[in-house]
């Protein structure tokens, strides 16, 4: 008998009598306050979140706040004139020198500031992790109150990789002192776009 069979047999023998799954449908939040809550929470996490009317506003913000002479990549065609459209086929190691990545997010969660992204909008999986600064554009309509609404929207999905990203990379491993920029981005900016709504 191999280990698989041995383990499964032991589990079957030792597991207690079956219990039912609880109903979790009662959990959820208030949609009407979600955008305001998102903006506040994301700030407390150490990120920057702002409502913008259109891509022109996003471009102005990026020009004013980032060094666009350094490598800037995007998956958004609207930003194709100011950033490199990122290739989905090159070796991911080639993105090591990316200063700023601007990508689209599927939805934003008000209670915790997290944005849901899949490999489809990342361009390449490594992008939101390897860049020095990350900016994400999400439709203001796509802000949900809690993770319960988020998972209802995500459903089973058909992505190869997906992730919630809720702020700049951080650590407090040295004497509990909060440091932004552990291994991933040093900063994260979220644009809640009203025009996309």
């Amino acid at each position: 008998m191999n280990s698989r069979e041995k383990i499964l047999q032991a589990v079957l023998k030792n597991q207690p009598a079956a219990s039912v799954l609880p109903d979790i449908s009662m959990f959820g939040g208030n949609k009407s306050e979600a955008v305001q809550q998102y903006l506040e929470i994301f700030k407390t996490i150490g990120g920057t979140a702002l409502e913008v009317a259109d891509f022109a506003e996003i471009k102005t913000y990026l020009q004013d706040n980032f060094e666009l002479t350094k490598r800037t990549v995007t998956t958004l065609p609207e930003l194709g004139d100011m950033a490199e459209m990122l290739s989905q086929t090159v070796d991911p190691h080639t993105f090591e020198d990316v200063e700023l990545a601007v990508i689209q997010g599927h939805l934003a969660v008000a209670e915790n500031g997290a944005i849901w992204l899949t490999d489809e909008v990342m361009g390449q999986r490594i992008i939101p992790y390897i860049c020095q600064h990350l900016a994400v554009v999400v439709s203001a309509n796509q802000v949900v109150p809690t993770l319960h609404e988020a998972y209802a929207e995500i459903g089973i999905g058909n992505y190869g990789f997906g992730g919630f990203i809720g702020g700049p990379s951080k650590t407090a491993d040295i004497e509990q002192a909060l440091v932004l920029g552990a291994h991933g981005p040093l900063s994260m900016t979220v644009f809640l776009l009203t025009e996309m709504s």
């Binding site: 589990v11 079957l12 207690p16 609880p22 979790i24 915790n112 190869g160 407090a172 552990a182 291994h183």
Partner: protein, 465 residues
Amino acid sequence: MKETQIQDHATLAEAFIQDEERVNWHDGALWFIREKRDLAAKKIPEWENLREVASQIKHNVISNLHDYLVQFEENLTRNGVTVHWAADAAEHNAIVYSILKAKEITQMVKSKSMLTEECHLNEYLAERGISVINSDLGEYIQQIDNEPPSHIVLPCIHKRKEEIGALFHEHLGSEKGLSDPTLLTRVARKHLRNVFMTRRAALTGVNFAVAETGEYVVCTNEGNADMGAHLSEVQIASMGLEKIIPQKKHLSIFLRVLARSATGQPITIYSSHYRKPRPGQEMHLILVDAGRTRQLARPDFRDSLKCIKCGSCMNTCPVYRKSGGLSYHNTISGPIGAILAPNLDMKKHADLPYASTLCGSCSNVCPVKINIHDQLYKWRQVIVKEGYAGYTKALGMKTMAWTLSSPGNFTKAGKAGRWFMQNLPFMINNKFNPWYKQRELPEGPEESFAEWYAQNHEKEEPVYK
């Protein structure tokens, strides 16, 4: 019981408390995290419901584990992930080695995984010419200092920044005397970027494995799991059997309670859902038993398998905070470690269920409502019954049993005790009595309650006024 070579919790804790300033600081640092947890929990009106539901879901997992494991395996295979099963640490390590050897890989980067710490994977691979670097900052610091993690979430919480600065100076060539946390983090960031860029294989742990979809979720704040995984050509995940959850929507419950319980954050910065390999990449997942099916068979202790490794029981524990994680001589320390460890090796860890005041704070903060303090108490009984209690403890308990077995014995023992305390206090207040350490014994009372009651009763006066 013959004392084993390793020192027990009390001995190791005694060494830790020599430095009073450090103990007070350690105590305060952990209590600060406990307070952050409280603030985060209180912001969620349905918090107690979430705990209850999380506990019920985990109970369902434990009671249907066989079917969920089969379903998870099927979905992983469909997603293009190779599944391995390991009965114990040795088999787990051999599987990792065979995967790396097939690709002629000699260097690997690993994000936080208590399971691989428990399996001593790094040492095993090092003996076979494969070097592993731990990429979580705290684990990296512990690795270069040749120490295991002292806390499952905050691996080097017991270290001062000056000590870390000295380690970085020695191992990474940073400026001597550097102790600023931000600057130290930058030094590690630069060094570990190079590691991520050059490692062909990356291993991660698993926080939650969804049976319904075959995806697994890894939570970090640093982004180290993703940096390793997305740059690797071989991605390996090691998980204990109990990490399964039934359906994807259940992630909403667990991700809401995990980080709030752990550090008071509303969610970890990264909650990554790994499902399929990217083109050209291999993905492997190893399901590890290593004692879990044995724990499943113990009705009093199987609920410990609900643990989601948030560390909140450690942060709140008065014994952990004042004795430090390393004094538990087990990968997982604190209250949860003390109920998991005896299942792994009862003789070696017989001391751990005693490293508790049974105050119950651990059970009150546990996000999946494990009755940790009840299990600590129950383990003590199992350990004594199986003959693993230390000699002095066993003798003390036998004496206590004799004393309490009849009123006559109790009265005689009480008289004797009072006489010694009044007439020969040095017989009790000396270094051979472990209860005298850090304690002053009170003066012996003139009479016992029974004697006092008998006297007052005769006078037929009411006892309580």
